[in-house]
Amino acid sequence: NLKCITHDLNRMICSWDATSSANLGLTYKICYTNSEPFSPVCIETEGKRADIPVTIGSTNIQITTLNASGTPLATETFVLPEENVSLIPLTPQILNLSADFSTYTLYLKWNDSGSVFQYELDASWQIQILHKETLETVALINYDSKLTGKDSILSWDWTSDIPLECTSYYVKIRCYINEPYFTGRKEWSEWSPIRTVPEKDTKPNSPMVFPQDKVVLVGSNVTFCCLYNEGESIKFMKYGSKSYPLLRLNKWSSAIKVQNVSASISSGTNVWCLLEPDGLEGTVLFVGYAPDTPQNLSCETHTFINITCSWKPGRATELYTQRQTKYILFERISKENVTCEVDELKPEHHCNFSVHANQKIYNFTLGASNPLGQAESSLLIDVTQRVHLETPDKFTVSTNSSTNAHLSWYIPGNFIQIRLLCQIEINNSNSEQQLQSVSMAGAENSNYRAWVDALHPYATYTFRVRCSASEHFWRWSEWSEGKKLTTLEA
């Protein structure tokens, strides 16, 4: 009953059964040759196994049983064709098993022992994940790799559909090597020693519900578990006001599966379990949407000191405060970005970006992100073509004649590089209205002046002024406050 296996196609381990009754003190002499004309090599061993080189073709093996004094008791000769040798890879070893509880993901690392073979080979791996308590298989995954003649660390990850805190998992792996030219039997290796997630191999130290404060998309399916102490039992578990059938995971853990969750209220949907004798544990699920693409993105400058971008957030995400959408304004040319402070409760958001000396073109990308996703909008502007002046301030009107009026106003901002166009609205007491335009050089944080003629003597007028960029009109400023004036008598 000779059986030979090899782990590396280099040497094989042959083992046999010996039928003689007196097993004590027996030794075995093994002599082997292969079909090549070499003289036999003989070795003696006490165990019923021997380590023999693997050779191409068949190997002639002679096994002689010797008693304690070395007298041969029996001899058996075998011709071992390669077909009768089994290639069984070495039992793999898991180097590391870690877990990211927030993403329910197990991370596995192991050594592929590629150096056992001096050339490239296809290898298949099976990774088995079991529930620790019930040893029920949760997942059996095939993973292929290439042995390269050197040892390589392989890594792989697996995401559970229930929180990792809910139950303990065992992980083990085995290997299969597909050596195309080996005509013997190719079998799976032994399973590796079992590994479990280090932090999770103990009973829960206090009752809890998982996942804690998770954020998910509307429509998701979510599994929750309630962990309780031994000696406690679970009465029921509810998602909001609805009770769900309990799935028992182990002695101290039961779960519920909730399908197609809808948007939660701002403080989240409660998931809770009532325990015997008198415990109440719970968690909160925040259900919302990923950010919408920022809408109506528009950027302009009021003072040539800052560029103010504004936009509408689009569909509400139903997520607030620490889960709200965060905005970052990135400018490609200067490679600068700004974190925008927004008030989530306002329908429109704003963000300021400094105007750079000698930079006219600004290539903005507004990124929106929340725990469920991200979106972005882009806009390219020439800042000199996006001037939206502040409302003219300190507006005064005066006259020292019966037909003229002098107007003065102040506009904050640095407009040295552009010309301004201002519109003067003149209303007389008969509610006749005139609009006069005047163009002037821009200045920095300056007062601007204009005068109006062809007025009627001893008449009362109301003046207002607004301004814009002259060359590339973008928007008028707001009107200044109105100022009344009565011209002198003729």
């Binding site: 519900v209 804690q212 404060d213 509810k238 909001g240 006001s241 939660s264 209220i265 701002s266 403080s267 989240g268 949907t269 409660n270 809770w272 008198d278 415990g279 109440l280 719970g282 968690t283 909160v284 925040f286 607030y320 405060t321 620490q322 989530e344 409760l345």
Partner: protein, 190 residues
């Protein structure tokens, strides 16, 4: 609140102070009921369900008025005032913590935030009045209050649950203070 020695407050002034404080407890009782109702409205089930009766939970620094009514009535005025003063020395800080947590969980619930803020102010006022009365009656005051709920809650559910217990205790203490001050008023008529 002014701290004055007892001899300087006449019997009349003490009675007036007790009457004012009793009126404050009437307001507190009403507002605390409203606050609890407003609070549960924003936390979602099971908090908002009428038959929600969670197991009692210790709130750091705030004893529950667990003394049974008969035993409460059997206490001396001083002992009752001491218990009240101890509770109202802590409640403002706790209500402040709950308001901060609710600003995080329910940023849109401005009415809830307003009520929580008002409740903390009312408790501060009542604590001052109680201190005045106890000083006037030469009764030993309570220990210094603990500031708030300690560190941030470890989860949103725990924040909701803790807030629920604080609001409920606030209501329970308001009822007890109303009852105790009512008793005191009968002993110090105007």
């Amino acid at each position: 609140s002014s701290t004055s020695s007892s001899s300087s407050l006449s019997q009349q002034e003490v009675a007036t102070k007790i009457k004012q404080t009793h009126r404050l407890t009437v307001l507190l009782k009403h507002c605390s009921e409203q606050l609890l109702a407003e609070y549960v409205r924003h936390q979602g089930e099971p908090f908002s369900s009428p038959d929600f009766q969670p197991p009692a939970m210790a709130v750091p620094g705030l004893p529950s008025p667990s003394v049974p009514p008969e035993a409460w009535l059997a206490l001396s005025d001083g002992k009752r005032l001491w218990h009240l003063a101890a509770a109202y020395a802590t409640l403002p800080g706790l209500l402040g913590s709950v308001r901060r947590q609710q600003a995080e969980l329910n940023p849109l619930a401005s009415e809830l935030h307003r009520q929580l803020e008002a409740a903390a102010r009312q408790c501060l006022g009542l604590a001052g009045n109680l201190e005045g009365i106890m000083g006037a009656l030469e009764l030993p005051g309570p220990p210094p209050p603990s500031s708030s709920l300690g560190g941030p809650p470890t989860s949103a559910f725990l924040a909701k649950l803790t807030g629920y217990h604080v609001c409920r205790l606030h209501r329970d203490w308001a009822m007890r203070s109303h009852e105790a001050l009512g008793l005191l008023r009968t002993k110090y008529p105007l």
